[in-house]
């Protein structure tokens, strides 16, 4: 059997350290996802309104987030704010901010898309029955929008989790950084460690994202 370099995982606390790194990646993701879902939904609903100032602001915000690679945003928030404003953000805080900004932008897009995909007739036939505006939203529009939204937002969530691997670039010791450290420390005695360790990272990411995708698939099927 070829040497996959898996042995380093069982040295000392290496595996636990990897899990710890995964924990940090997940903590950043979960906070950012929660913020994004809440703020993104609010902004998405607000974008339905015909408010010029809000429209202009959202446009600018979305374009900036879309054009900028996430890595540039991370550098901008982490290093940029220290330089320009003298803020001393921790890498993790900077990461949460960037991922929340990104997630909120994308989420608001998804929410707006889901809402505008509900045909005007649905609003009208509900209103014609004598339902109040809030009831029209609560019972007719939102349940349909949510059904369309869930598969899309789960896709966004898994993308956010995966993209957190970038935060090692601003010194956050998340799973990929831990992996690098382990490989580095064992370069002499276990030269094949890179494969085994990265394989483990792959499996761990997979174990996190796969159930989410399965759930999305199930929901899509049930409501399709």
């Amino acid at each position: 059997m070829p040497d996959l370099g898996l042995d380093v995982l069982f040295k000392g606390k290496n595996f636990a350290r990897l899990l710890g790194g995964l924990g940090i990646a997940l903590r950043i993701s979960v906070i950012a996802i929660l913020v994004s879902v809440v703020l993104g939904t609010v902004l998405g609903v607000l974008r339905q309104r015909e408010n010029l100032i809000l429209k202009a602001f959202m446009r600018l915000y979305l374009e900036v987030i879309r054009i900028m690679p996430q890595l540039v945003l991370l550098f901008l928030v982490y290093f940029g704010t220290t330089r320009s404003f003298g803020w001393d953000l921790s890498g993790e805080t900077a990461s949460v901010i960037v991922f929340s900004l990104w997630g909120t932008a994308e989420m608001s897009d998804l929410v707006r898309g889901a809402l505008s995909s509900i045909p005007g007739h649905q609003y009208e036939s509900a209103a014609a029955l004598g339902l109040k505006k809030t009831q029209v939203y609560l019972y007719v529009v939102l349940p349909q929008a949510v059904r369309r939204l869930i598969p899309l937002s789960i896709n966004l969530i898994t993308r956010m989790i995966k993209t957190t691997s970038l935060v090692l670039m601003i010194g956050v010791v998340e799973i990929l950084k831990v992996a690098q450290q382990i490989i580095e420390a064992n370069r002499m005695n276990s030269p094949n460690a890179a494969f085994g360790v990265y394989l483990t990272v792959f499996v761990l990411y997979f174990l996190v994202c796969w159930p989410i995708s399965v759930l999305a698939g199930k929901l899509e099927k049930r409501w399709g």
Binding site: H121, A127, A128, L129, G130, L131, V140, Q144
Partner: protein
């Protein structure tokens, strides 16, 4: 509120004016619907029939005139509009059922949430009405599992379950396959026989003739002619009405004897 309802009058449209931008669609239209009356509105495509119905329950705003239901003005943006709309049942050409709800939930939603009636009571009534239109086995189906005719009968029951003072039907068979038209028209005929007050827009002239107490012929957003079905269909007075009615009859020249 100091509004004294005129006895017998359910709906009163007076001097209604509706325009989309520069394009006038309804012009100075007045019409009164009395208790138990079935008024059929016919007219060429684009003459404003749908717009008129949509103005009645203020799905469209108007640019002049007013609509009163039992003396109360129906106004877009007014606070009691949802309450007034509960008394105006509307059935659309494309059913417009709520796709995420079962047939039963579609019907029960507004009576329970808008009128605040008891679930058990509404369910009982909904099931009885479904049975009446031959859909008792479909209560727990979703709209996508129904045929067009079944969807439209569901939509009619959904409107009926609110106990409206008046029912508005906008070409409710226009989207149906021919073999399903009859099942829907029979439901409406049955409602007429029960004495329901209704305004029916239709392109089915035979049906119009059978169901109408009064026919209104709309052309270019105005009432061009009105009368009993016999008067209107057998002895139309205006050229426009004659021309319109002619579009429904077909004639063929006498066959030439075939030479072999």
């Amino acid at each position: 509120m100091g509004v004294r309802p005129v006895p017998g009058i359910v709906l009163e449209i007076s001097h209604l004016h509706k325009a989309y931008g520069q394009n006038t669609v309804i012009e100075d239209l007045s019409l009164t619907v009395r208790e138990g009356e079935v008024i059929v509105i016919v007219g060429p495509s684009g003459c404003g029939k749908s717009t008129l119905l949509r103005c009645i329950n203020a799905l469209e705003s108007n640019q002049g005139g007013e609509v009163r239901l039992h003396g109360e003005p129906v106004l877009k943006g007014s606070k009691n509009l949802p309450e007034i709309r509960q008394k105006i049942g509307m059935v659309f050409q494309n059913y417009e059922l709520f796709p995420h709800m079962t047939v039963l939930d579609n019907i029960m939603l507004a009576p329970v949430k808008a009128q605040g009636r008891k679930k058990s009571e509404v369910r009982e009534e909904a099931l009885a009405l479904l049975k009446r239109v031959g859909l008792e086995t479909k209560a727990n189906s979703f709209p996508r599992q129904l045929s067009g005719g079944q969807k439209q009968r569901t939509a009619i029951v959904r409107a009926l379950c609110m106990h409206p003072d008046i029912l508005l039907f906008d070409e409710v068979t226009a989207a149906l396959d021919p073999e399903m038209v009859r099942e829907v028209l029979e439901v409406i005929l049955d409602l007429a026989n029960q004495g329901k007050t209704m305004l029916v827009v239709t392109h089915e002239m035979q049906f119009a003739r059978a169901i109408a107490d009064w026919v209104v012929f709309l052309d270019d957003g105005r009432i061009c002619e009105e009368g009993t079905p016999e008067e209107f269909f057998d002895h139309p007075k205006t050229e426009r009405a004659k021309k319109f009615l002619n579009t429904f009859t077909f004639e063929r020249k006498a066959r030439q004897p075939k030479t072999i």
